[in-house]
C-alpha cells in the first residue's frame, strides 16, 4: 500500500539512511499539470525579462501552446487507457490518474484555452494613444483615475501578468479534481483560488467594482478555505491520515491494525461528520451552491468579463470534480449521512438561483444566478451516487462550460461609451441592430434554459435521469419546476433583444478578433452538437465515470 508508505516516510526517519527511498513520481502521467505549471513559470520569467512591447505576444503564445500541449497530453493519456484500465494512483498517492480526472482536466484545459482567447482580445476597446488594449487594467497597482494610471495608459502598459495567473489557476484546477489526499486538495484549492482573486481585480473599466469584487471574493474565499482546512484537520484527527484511501477504509471500518494510540480519536464519528461537512462546505462555496453562493453575483459582475467567463466555467468543473471524488471515493460509506443534506442543498440551490434571477437587471448578474441554479441541477446528478450519476455530471460540466464561456464572450461584445453595456435595458432591440450576435446569444440562453436540441437539454436530461434512477424522483420534480422558473427569465432576455424597441443611444456591437470569434464559435458548435448528437460524448463520459481508489 504505497499510500501508507508516503506518510510513514518521516515517521521512519530514525531508520538508517540506507532505508531511505526517494519518492517515485510518474512524470508522464502528470504531464498535463506539469506542462501548465511550467508554462506559468515561464510566463513569470517573460514578465521579468521580455521587453514590454513583445510581452503580450510571448505570453499569448506560451499560454496557448502550453494549454494545447497539455490537452494533447490528456488525450494521449486517455487514449493510453489511463482513464479506464490503467487508471491508478500516482505521485505516491497524492494524485489520481483516472477517468474522471482526465475528463475534467481535458474540459478545464479547453476552458482555459478559450479563456486565453478571450483574455487576449484587443479589438473591442478603442485603441488608447495608438495602443491596442485588452480588458485588463493598464497598471493594476495605480489608483483608478490617478495620474499614474493615465501615464500607464499613455505608455500603453498592459497587465500581461493575467496570462501566467490564468495558467497558475488552470494548474491548480488540474490538480484539484485529481487530488487524492486532503492536503493536495487544499493546496490545489489555494493554488487556483489566489490567481483568480488577483484576476478579478484587473478590470480596465469600472475598476472600483473590480477591486471590490476581488476583495469580496478573496475574503470570503479565504474564509471558506479556513473552514475546509479545519475540516481537513478534523478528518485527519479521525483517520490519522489525510489520504483518501485510508480515510475511506476507516470510514468503512475495514482498516487493518488499529494503532492503540489512535483509539481515542480514530473512528470518532463526530470528528468525521463535522470534518466532512466543513470540507464539503468549502467545495460548495467554490461551486456556488446556496447558501454559500452570495459571492457569485458580485464577483461575476465586478470581474473583467473574460475572467468571469473563465472562472464560471473552469472553477465549477474543478470544484465539482473534487466534490465528486470526495463523496464517491472518501465518503461513500457515509452516503446515508450526506445524501439528505445534499438533497436539501440541491433543492435550495435550484430554487434559490432560479427565483432570484427573475428580478435581475444586469446581464452578468443574471448569468451568475443562472450558474447558481445550474450548480443545483448538477448537484442532483451528484446525489445519484451511481456510475450514471458521475457520467451525467461530467457531461453536464463539459456542456455547461462551453456555453458559459461563449455567453460571457458575447457579453464582452456589447459595448457603449462606458465599456461593456451589461444593464439589460441596454440590450433592448439588440436583435434589430445585429441579429447575428443576438441569435448566437439566444442559442446560449436556450441552452441554459435546457430547451431540447441544445446541449443544455441533453445535460439536464442526463442528470435528472441519473437522479431518478438513484431514486431521487422528488428532486427531479423540483428540478423541472425550477427550470420552468429559470426558463422564464432566459426567454425574457431573448424577447428583450428581439421584440422591444431599441433605444437610440443603445450600445454598439464591437467586431471582435478571430480569437473571441473562435471562443464563441466553439461555444455554439458544442452547444448544438451536444444537443443534437450527444451520444459520442455520453460514451466518453460514461467510460470516464469510474474513480480509482
Amino acid at each position: 500500500m504505497s499510500t501508507v508508505a508516503v506518510h510513514s516516510l518521516w515517521t521512519t526517519a530514525v531508520d538508517p539512511i540506507s532505508k531511505f527511498q526517494a519518492p517515485k513520481i510518474e512524470y508522464a502521467q502528470l504531464s498535463p499539470t506539469l506542462i501548465v505549471i511550467g508554462a506559468a513559470l515561464v510566463g513569470v520569467l517573460i514578465e521579468a525579462f521580455v521587453p514590454r512591447k513583445s510581452r503580450y505576444h510571448a505570453q499569448v503564445f506560451v499560454s496557448v501552446v502550453a494549454l494545447a500541449a497539455a490537452f494533447a497530453a490528456v488525450v494521449a493519456l486517455a487514449s493510453g487507457g489511463y482513464g479506464t484500465t490503467k487508471a491508478h494512483i500516482a505521485a505516491m498517492g497524492a494524485l489520481a490518474v483516472d477517468g474522471p480526472a482526465l475528463f475534467l482536466q481535458g474540459t478545464i484545459l479547453l476552458a482555459g484555452l478559450f479563456g486565453v482567447f478571450t483574455f487576449a482580445e484587443r479589438r473591442l476597446d478603442p485603441a488608447a494613444h495608438g495602443n491596442r488594449v485588452d480588458s485588463f487594467a493598464a497598471q493594476a497597482a495605480s489608483v483608478p483615475g490617478s495620474d499614474s494610471e493615465k501615464a500607464a495608459v499613455k505608455a500603453g502598459f498592459t497587465t500581461t501578468e493575467a496570462f501566467p495567473l490564468l495558467l497558475f489557476a488552470v494548474g491548480g484546477m488540474l490538480v484539484f479534481p485529481s487530488a487524492n489526499d486532503l492536503l493536495t486538495l487544499f493546496v490545489a484549492l489555494e493554488v487556483f483560488s489566489l490567481p483568480l482573486y488577483l484576476l478579478c481585480a484587473l478590470a480596465r473599466r469600472k475598476r472600483l467594482m473590480s477591486q471590490e469584487a476581488a476583495v469580496k471574493y478573496f475574503l470570503l474565499g479565504a474564509f471558506a478555505s479556513a473552514f475546509t482546512l479545519f475540516g481537513i484537520a478534523l478528518l485527519y484527527g479521525y483517520a490519522g491520515s489525510v489520504s483518501y484511501a485510508t480515510i475511506a477504509q476507516v470510514v468503512d471500518g475495514t482498516v487493518t491494525n488499529v494503532d492503540p494510540a489512535l483509539a481515542n480519536t480514530m473512528g470518532n464519528d463526530v470528528l468525521l461528520l463535522i470534518g466532512a461537512a466543513m470540507i464539503v462546505m468549502g467545495l460548495l462555496f467554490k461551486v456556488g451552491a446556496v447558501p454559500f453562493h452570495m459571492w457569485t453575483p458580485d464577483v461575476y459582475q465586478g470581474a473583467p468579463t473574460p475572467v468571469t467567463g473563465f472562472m464560471a466555467a473552469a472553477t465549477k468543473v474543478a470544484a465539482f470534480g473534487a466534490l465528486l471524488r470526495l463523496l464517491y471515493v472518501v465518503l461513500p460509506g457515509l452516503r446515508w449521512d450526506w445524501r439528505p443534506v445534499m438533497w436539501a442543498v440541491a433543492i435550495v440551490t435550484m430554487l434559490g438561483g432560479a427565483i432570484v434571477a427573475i428580478t435581475q437587471t444586469d446581464i452578468k448578474r443574471l448569468l451568475a444566478y443562472s450558474s447558481i441554479a445550474h450548480a443545483g441541477f448538477i448537484l442532483a446528478g451528484v446525489i445519484a451516487t451511481t456510475r450514471s450519476g458521475v457520467s451525467s455530471v461530467l457531461f453536464y460540466l463539459a456542456a455547461y462550460s462551453f456555453v458559459t464561456i461563449g455567453a460571457f464572450a458575447v457579453v464582452t461584445l456589447v459595448r457603449d461609451a462606458g465599456g461593456e453595456a451589461t444593464h439589460l435595458s441596454k440590450w433592448a432591440g439588440l436583435g434589430r441592430r445585429s441579429p447575428l450576435v443576438a441569435a448566437v446569444f439566444a442559442v446560449f440562453l436556450l441552452a441554459f434554459a435546457g430547451i431540447p436540441l441544445t446541449s443544455g437539454f441533453a445535460g439536464k436530461f442526463a442528470v435528472f435521469k441519473a437522479a431518478a434512477e438513484g431514486g431521487a424522483i422528488p428532486l427531479v420534480v423540483i428540478g423541472v419546476i425550477s427550470s420552468a422558473v429559470a426558463a422564464f427569465f432566459y426567454i425574457r432576455v431573448i424577447v428583450l433583444m428581439f421584440f422591444s424597441e431599441p433605444n437610440p443611444e443603445g450600445p454598439t456591437v464591437a467586431v471582435p478578433s478571430p480569437l473571441t470569434l473562435t471562443a464563441i464559435g466553439a461555444g455554439v458548435a458544442v452547444t448544438l452538437v451536444l444537443g443534437v448528437a450527444p451520444q459520442y460524448f455520453l460514451n466518453l463520459a460514461s467510460q470516464a465515470s469510474v474513480f480509482v481508489r
Partner: protein, 631 residues
C-alpha cells in the same frame, strides 16, 4: 325510376348553389332560374307520383341508396332516400306550393335589390325540406331538419338591416336548436337501443323494446316537433318569424316547414303506438297549442301575427291528431295538406294587401279593401271560409275528422280533447272573421305612413294573383276531393296504418256542433267589429286581451328566466374566469416575483453579511449531518 328521387333535391339545391355563388351577373335572371328549378322539381315529383300510382298499394315504397355517409364501427349512416306515400304527399305539397310561391315572390320582391339571394334561399329551403321528407334514416332527416332551420333563419332575417328581423331570425334558430337537442338525443337513444337509426329497422323492431325506452324516444321526438312546429312550450318564435317577407311566411311558416313536426311524429308512428304515455303528452301539447294559438290570434292587430297565431293553432290540431295514433295519423296529414293550401293562400292574400298598402300590417289601418283589390278579396275570402270549416270546403272535412277522432280517443281524455278541439273551432271562426272584417269590410281607415305618402290600394300584378287563385281553388276543393271515398285514407294507410275509433258521439253531432260553434264565433266577431267602427288605435282591452297580445306572456317568461338568467350566468362566469381561474395563476407568478424581490435584498453587497450566511450555512450543514446520524 327511383333513381330520380335524388334529382328532386338536386334541382333546387343546384339552384341555391348557383344563385348564392353566382354573383351579381345573375341578378337579371336569378328569380326565373329559381322558379324554374322549383317547378322542375314539382314536375319531377308529379312524374314519380304517377309512377307510384301505377304500383300496387303495398309496393309503393321505393328507396335510393346514394353512398355510405358516416361509416364508423357499428355506427352506419347512409345517404339513402325513401319515397313512399307519406313522403310523396309532402313532396307534392312542398314543390307545388313552393313553386307557386316562387312565382308570387317574383312580383312581391320585385323592388328588392337582393332578390337573387332571396330566391337562392328559397331554393335552399326547398332542397332541405325535400331532404327532410325523403330521408330514410333519422340522421339524414336531421340534416334536412336543420337545413330548413337554416333556410328559415336566413329568410326571416332577410331584411337584416332591420334589427327586429335579425333578432327574430336568431330567436327562431335558437328555439329550434332546443328542439334539435331533442331530435339528436332521440337518435342517440335509438342508436343505443337498436344499434341503428334507419327508419326500417327501428320502426319494425320498435315493439321489441321496453316501453320506458320508447316513451323516452317519443318524448324527445316530441320536443323536436315542438321546436319545429311552434308547439307549446317552444312556440314563441313563430310570431316574430313574421318579420320575414310574406312569401316566406306563407311557404315556410304556414304551409310546409312548420308542419315538419307533424311529419316526424306520423313517421315515427310505430314508436308512439307502443308508447301510450308519449302519445298522451303529444295530444295534450296539441290541444293546448291549438287553444293557445287561437287565443293569441284573436288579440293581434298585425294581420300576419294573427295568421301566425292561427297557424300555430291549426298545427295544434294536426299534432293532436297525430297524438291520437292510428286513428288520427291520416287526418293529421290531410289537415296538413289542406291547411297548406288555405293558409298559404291567406298569407299570400295578406301579402298582396300589404303590397298594396305600403307594407302596412296593422289591420286597424285597413278596412273596406274589398273594392280596391277584388281578386285578393275573393281568394282571401275562400281561404277564410276554408279555414273556419265552412261546409264543403277543405277545412271542413279535415278539421271535422280530427275532432271526431279526438272524441274517439274515448274516456275523459277523449271528451277533454274533443272539447278543446271544438272550442278551438269556435275561436278560429271568431278571429278569422275578425281579420276578414277588419281588412276588407267597414270604412277605410288607412292613413299616411311616416314618410307621409298616402297609400293607394291597388290589385297586385298577375304573377302574384295567379298563385293566390290556384291556392284558393285548392282550398276549396282539396278537402272534398280527398274525402270522397276516403281517397286520402286509402292512399296513406299502407304507411301510417289506420284504425277506426268508436266515438262516443256520432259524426253527425260533431259536425252539427262544429257548425253551431262556427256560427257563434263568427257572429261574435261580426257584432264586435262589423257593427261598430274599429278604433284606429287598439283599446286597452280586457286583461285576457292584453295578455294574449303579449303571446300569453311567453316571451316575458323567456326574457326573465332565460335571457336575463343567461346574461347573469355568463357575466359571472366571465368574472370567475378572470379572477379565480386566471387569478390563481397570476397570483402564483406574482408571488414568485415578489419572493424573488425579497430574496434579492439579502444580496445587500456587504461582504460580512455574506460571511454570516456562509457561517450559518456551515452551521446548518454540520447540524444536519449530525442530525442525520442521530435519527
Amino acid at each position: 325510376m327511383e333513381n330520380l328521387i335524388a334529382l328532386l333535391i338536386a334541382a333546387p339545391l343546384l339552384g341555391a348553389a348557383v344563385l348564392l355563388c353566382g354573383g351579381r351577373r345573375l341578378d337579371a335572371v336569378g328569380h326565373w332560374l329559381g322558379t324554374f328549378l322549383a317547378g322542375a322539381s314539382f314536375v319531377l315529383g308529379a312524374v314519380l307520383f304517377t309512377d307510384m300510382l301505377g304500383k300496387a298499394a303495398d309496393a309503393r315504397t321505393v328507396t335510393q341508396h346514394l353512398f355510405s355517409w358516416i361509416p364508423v364501427a357499428g355506427f352506419q349512416a347512409d345517404v339513402t332516400f325513401r319515397l313512399d306515400q307519406l313522403s310523396m304527399t309532402f313532396v307534392l305539397l312542398i314543390t307545388g306550393v313552393g313553386s307557386l310561391i316562387h312565382l308570387y315572390s317574383i312580383g312581391y320582391m320585385e323592388h328588392d335589390e337582393r332578390r337573387r339571394r332571396f330566391f337562392g334561399y328559397l331554393n335552399l329551403f326547398l332542397a332541405a325540406m325535400l331532404l327532410l321528407v325523403l330521408a330514410d334514416n333519422y340522421l339524414l332527416l336531421y340534416v334536412g331538419w336543420e337545413g330548413v332551420g337554416l333556410a328559415s333563419y336566413l329568410l326571416i332575417g332577410f331584411w337584416q338591416h332591420k334589427p327586429s328581423a335579425a333578432t327574430a331570425a336568431k330567436k327562431a334558430f335558437l328555439v329550434n336548436r332546443v328542439g334539435d337537442m331533442g331530435l339528436s338525443i332521440a337518435i342517440m337513444l335509438m342508436f343505443t337501443t337498436f344499434g341503428t337509426f334507419a327508419f326500417g329497422p327501428v320502426l319494425d323492431s320498435a315493439d321489441k323494446v321496453g316501453e320506458g325506452r320508447l316513451t323516452a324516444i317519443g318524448l324527445m321526438l316530441l320536443l323536436a316537433a315542438c321546436g319545429k312546429s311552434a308547439q307549446v312550450p317552444l312556440q314563441s318564435w313563430l310570431g316574430d318569424a313574421m318579420e320575414g317577407p310574406t312569401p316566406v311566411s306563407a311557404l315556410i311558416h304556414a304551409a310546409t316547414m312548420v308542419t315538419a313536426g307533424v311529419y316526424l311524429i306520423v313517421r315515427s308512428g310505430a314508436i308512439f303506438n307502443a308508447a301510450p304515455d308519449a302519445q298522451l303528452v303529444v295530444t295534450v301539447v296539441g290541444a293546448v297549442t291549438l287553444l293557445f294559438g287561437a287565443i293569441v290570434g284573436c288579440a293581434k292587430d298585425d294581420i300576419k301575427k294573427a295568421l301566425a297565431g292561427s297557424t300555430m293553432s291549426q298545427i295544434g290540431y294536426m299534432v293532436l291528431a297525430a297524438g291520437l295514433g292510428p286513428i288520427g295519423y291520416v287526418f293529421a296529414i290531410m289537415h296538413l295538406v289542406t291547411h297548406g293550401f288555405f293558409k298559404a293562400g291567406l298569407f299570400l292574400g295578406a301579402g298582396s294587401v300589404m303590397h298594396g298598402m305600403n307594407d302596412e300590417v296593422d289591420m286597424r289601418r285597413y278596412g273596406g279593401l274589398r273594392t280596391y283589390m277584388p281578386v285578393t278579396f275573393v281568394t282571401f275570402g275562400l281561404g277564410y271560409l276554408a279555414i273556419v270549416g265552412f261546409p264543403g270546403l277543405s277545412g271542413f272535412f279535415s278539421k271535422d275528422k280530427i275532432i271526431e277522432a279526438a272524441f274517439a280517443k274515448g274516456g275523459t281524455e277523449g271528451w277533454i280533447l274533443g272539447g278543446a278541439a271544438l272550442l278551438g273551432a269556435a275561436i278560429t271562426a271568431y278571429y278569422m272573421t275578425r281579420v276578414m272584417i277588419m281588412t276588407f269590410f267597414g270604412e277605410k281607415r288607412w292613413q299616411p305612413d311616416e314618410q307621409g305618402n298616402e297609400p293607394h290600394p291597388h290589385e297586385s300584378p298577375g304573377v302574384m294573383t295567379i298563385p293566390m287563385i290556384v291556392l284558393a281553388v285548392g282550398s276549396v276543393f282539396a278537402g272534398g276531393f280527398f274525402s270522397l271515398g276516403d281517397r286520402f285514407l286509402h292512399w296513406l294507410e299502407p304507411v301510417t296504418g289506420h284504425a277506426e275509433g268508436n266515438s262516443p258521439v256520432s259524426a253527425m253531432t260533431v259536425t252539427a256542433a262544429t257548425l253551431v260553434l262556427l256560427v257563434v264565433g263568427a257572429g261574435i266577431a261580426y257584432v264586435q267589429y262589423g257593427r261598430r267602427p274599429v278604433p284606429a288605435v287598439a283599446p286597452r282591452g280586457s286583461l285576457l286581451t292584453r295578455v294574449a297580445r303579449r303571446d300569453l306572456l311567453q316571451d316575458d317568461f323567456n326574457h326573465v328566466v332565460l335571457v336575463r338568467g343567461g346574461e347573469h350566468l355568463t357575466r359571472s362566469l366571465v368574472y370567475v374566469d378572470h379572477t379565480l381561474v386566471d387569478g390563481v395563476v397570476n397570483g402564483t407568478a406574482a408571488s414568485v416575483g415578489g419572493l424573488s424581490g425579497r430574496l434579492r435584498r439579502l444580496q445587500n453587497g456587504f461582504a460580512r453579511s455574506y460571511a454570516v450566511s456562509m457561517f450559518g450555512g456551515a452551521a446548518v450543514l454540520v447540524a444536519l449531518t449530525l442530525l442525520m446520524r442521530a435519527v
